[in-house]
């Protein structure tokens, strides 16, 4: 589903290497957790995957489409939720969802059904007619999430998706992620909550100073030199 080859990106005219020759392969049907300390290169990698940033070198393919050459095809297969749920706060929730559905050309009947079920699930039914600027952080997170999933993309890319969600919504999102992957799709998400990653991820990648320092299932990570909980593994790998 995702194939990243020799990806590099630097800032400040090359003086700061944010991502350094990254190679990563994420399979269909996988929930992939992308971990790393602050400033390790997680968000930069994600932003390059969805086209918000250009890479200095290397390539990214999404479901077989090169995201530089077949940009639109690659984008159509992605549903992205940023770490900061800033959206058009002078649109109502429903106007925003309808806008996203139009952009992704979702059929009217399909969109109605999907939007209805998401709004119900996230408890946003009563606020869908309000301007987004009146929403709380968590509500904004949910409306952005709904907007990102309304076209049922094969690949979900979620940057810190659980921050700001109440326990019930967080639980529902985790279930949705599982269901989505069980249908042969993929979820790629970054998080700082190691317990969540340990529990729901099929595979985990740890990035530090722009380089992938570990990748594998929890069992595979434990078999390495580091043993114990994901927290121990994380701390040991990222302190080096």
């Amino acid at each position: 589903m995702i194939n990243i080859k020799n990806l590099s990106k630097s800032y400040n005219k090359g003086s700061v290497k944010a991502v350094d020759n990254l190679n990563l392969h994420v399979n269909p049907g996988e929930i992939f957790g992308f971990l790393g300390p602050n400033g390790a290169g997680k968000t930069t990698t994600i932003k390059m995957m969805i086209g918000l940033l250009n890479s200095d070198s290397g390539s990214i393919s999404i479901k077989g489409f090169d995201n530089q050459k077949q940009t639109l095809e690659a984008k159509r297969n992605i549903g992205y939720v940023p770490d900061n749920p800033d959206v058009f706060d002078r649109l109502t929730g429903m106007e925003y969802l309808n806008f996203m559905a139009d952009i992704y050309q979702v059929e009217p009947d399909v969109r109605k059904e999907r939007i209805k079920s998401f709004l119900e699930m996230f408890g946003l039914n009563d606020a869908a007619g309000d301007l987004i600027k009146s929403y709380s952080h968590g509500m904004k997170q949910k409306i952005v999430l709904t907007g990102a999933l309304v076209h049922d993309p094969a690949l979900w890319i979620l940057d810190e998706p659980l921050v700001g969600l109440d326990p019930k919504s967080a639980h529902q999102l985790k279930e949705l992620m599982r269901k989505h992957c069980d249908k042969g799709n993929t979820v790629f998400f970054s998080t700082h909550v190691l317990e969540v990653a340990e529990k729901i991820c099929d595979r985990i990648g740890i990035i530090n100073r722009g380089k992938l320092v570990a990748i594998g299932t929890m069992d595979e990570l434990r078999k390495g030199e580091q043993a114990g909980s994901l927290e121990n593994i994380f701390l040991e790998l990222t302190e080096q």
Binding site: G51, K75, M94, D102, Q105, D130
Partner: protein, 558 residues
């Protein structure tokens, strides 16, 4: 005191973007020419206004001297300066005290309310000195120089100049703090911004109307007349707002009585300021919190709406167009700068001819003279294109997306389609301006219907090129880093650069039209030729714009 100074230093830094500017110009060395251009345009704007007010004050001084009351110049200067500051001060103070973003950061800090209020007060006051430049500065200088005042006058003038905003702003502050304690205006913030902006336009139009009524070469006569009929007004206003008269008396004379008035003025400043700070310590936080209550009423979407307006699929371009449309009309500052100015402009342009009867009659003679059909029609096209070009819709179209630009980068819609939606949105807004101006031409200037049709037709074709050129500038160098929508339109140099770029197209059109008229081309050929040239320039500009956007959108990183 130390805490206050630290707060003030930081507030000044944040409000005037000192660190940000230093970073950009000294560290990054980007856009070094920008402050020069801003400075020149600013000086030009203020300079023009100062020339007008100076002419008025000089005439007023001559008239006042002949009546034995030259100090009418100072009275007029102080009264109008303080009234304008009071009027706008209410909005500025409300914005600074209650709606600024940093309030939520400052309140939890161990700061006295009076410290917060005082730091905000200083910032508003510094901004107000700019308002004083075209109004009070000419009055003080013209009176001082015109009556040969000594050094003491200039020292007092400087102190009074610095103190002038204090009384009206402190009064506005007291009013606002008390009002906010009892009325929850916070939720009507947008309406407030709109009312404030609209007031600005009314004052601008009113001032313009006043100066336009002053006949050229007969200014003194006009002022004499004005004083005979209106001096009562100045007096009344002065009596209702005595500090302006205290300042006048304190400055104009050197008697002990005058020093008394001078001290009374300064004393009043200090007392009002102290009262504001005292009140702030007592009720500022309470009034701030009473405005923080969130409106809990929620609106759901009915099944009917789901099936009706949300149950249809539209193309991405249309979806983007409606998004632009809604965001534009729901952001008062955009409407103020993008629409209100454009709709008021035709009235401003014809105002001299209504205010001044001689000029008006001359104008009507020309318009109704069949000999001038072609130039009059072409002038109409020119007016429409100029009016519709004076807005920020196209030239800040990409900038207005700000930190929402990630959506534009993310969605699977080619850049050229996204830009096409922006072109359509800009044209739609421009059409409103075209319709209003055409109505003004038809109703007030009595243009015939057939001429109006020709003018509107040509103006629409011409608008495509001005919109495309304006947009090109914003696509090339969008200003995406802003926190307040005001920065996207008012502090965006693209607004000026876009207009300059489109003047190139307007120049070409004017040149082609003039050439055809001078060569004696028949009427139909002039319009057809102009339409063809406008169409060709529009097509080329649109083509260039779409190509440019494909290239540039890839380069922009967010």
């Amino acid at each position: 005191m130390n805490t206050f100074l630290t707060l003030l230093k930081t507030s000044l830094n944040v409000n005037f973007g000192i660190s940000a500017l230093r970073h950009r110009f000294i560290k990054q060395k980007r856009r070094l020419w920008e402050p020069v251009l801003i400075g020149v345009s600013f000086a030009f704007g203020i300079g023009t206004l100062m020339a007008l007010t100076s002419a008025f004050f000089i005439a007023l001084l001559i008239a006042g001297k002949s009546m034995g009351q030259p100090e009418i110049v100072l009275a007029m200067g102080f009264v109008s300066a303080q009234l304008i500051i009071l009027m706008f001060g209410i909005f500025y103070i409300m914005g600074a005290f209650y709606f600024s973003k940093d309030i939520d950061i400052l309140v939890p800090l161990p700061l006295k309310p009076s410290h917060i209020i005082a730091s905000k007060f200083v910032i508003v006051m510094i901004n107000e000195y700019l308002t004083l430049v075209p109004i009070l500065l000419p009055a003080v200088i013209i009176y001082g120089a015109g009556t040969g005042q000594g050094i003491l006058y200039w020292i007092k003038a400087l102190i009074l100049w610095l103190a002038t905003p204090v009384i009206p702003l402190a009064m506005a502050g007291l009013f606002v703090v008390i009002l906010m304690r009892f009325v929850n205006i916070r939720k009507s913030k947008d309406l407030l911004a709109f009312v404030g902006g609209f007031l600005g336009v009314i004052v601008a139009v009113g001032t313009n109307f006043f100066f336009q009524r002053m006949p050229k070469g007969k200014e003194e006569e006009f002022i004499q007349n004005f004083l005979n009929t209106q001096s009562g007004l100045v007096k009344t206003v002065g009596q209702k707002f005595p500090p302006a008269l205290w300042a006048t008396k304190g400055l104009a004379e050197n008697s002990p009585e005058a020093i008394g008035y001078f001290l009374l003025f300064i004393g009043t400043c200090l007392v009002l300021l102290a009262a504001l700070l005292w009140l702030a310590n007592r009720i500022f936080f309470k009034s701030l919190l009473s405005g923080q209550e969130v409106n809990r009423r929620r609106r759901s979407v009915s099944q009917r709406e789901m099936d009706g307006k949300y149950g249809k699929r539209q193309s991405p371009v249309l979806a983007l167009f409606w998004k632009e449309w809604k965001l534009f009309f729901r952001t008062p500052i955009y409407v103020m700068n993008g629409l209100v100015g454009m709709v008021m402009a035709p009235f401003l342009i014809i105002m001299p001819y209504i205010a001044n009867k001689e000029a008006g009659a001359y104008m009507f003679d020309i318009i109704s003279n069949p000999q001038y059909t072609v130039p009059v029609t072409l002038a109409g096209v020119g007016v429409l294109l100029l009016v519709t070009n004076m807005n920020i819709v196209a030239n800040t179209s990409v900038s207005r997306e700000g930190n929402m630009f990630w959506v534009s980068k993310l969605i699977p819609v080619p850049a050229k389609q996204q830009i096409l939606a922006k072109v359509l949105h800009s044209i739609a807004i421009v059409l409103i301006g075209i319709v209003v101006t055409a109505i003004v031409l038809a109703v007030i200037l009595k243009y015939t219907p057939i001429r109006i049709i020709i003018i509107v037709f040509l103006a629409i074709i011409g608008s495509f090129s001005t919109v495309a050129l304006n947009l090109m500038v914003d696509v090339l160098r969008p200003k995406l880093e802003w926190t307040n929508p005001q920065e996207a339109v008012k502090r965006n140099i693209n607004a000026i650069l876009g207009m300059l770029a489109s003047f190139v197209a307007l120049g070409i059109f004017a040149g082609v039209a003039a050439m055809m008229v001078f060569m004696g081309a028949p009427e139909w050929l002039v319009y057809t030729g102009l339409a063809v040239i406008m169409g060709a320039v529009a097509a080329a500009a649109l083509f260039g714009l779409l190509k440019l956007s494909e290239w540039k959108y890839k380069k922009i990183e967010v």
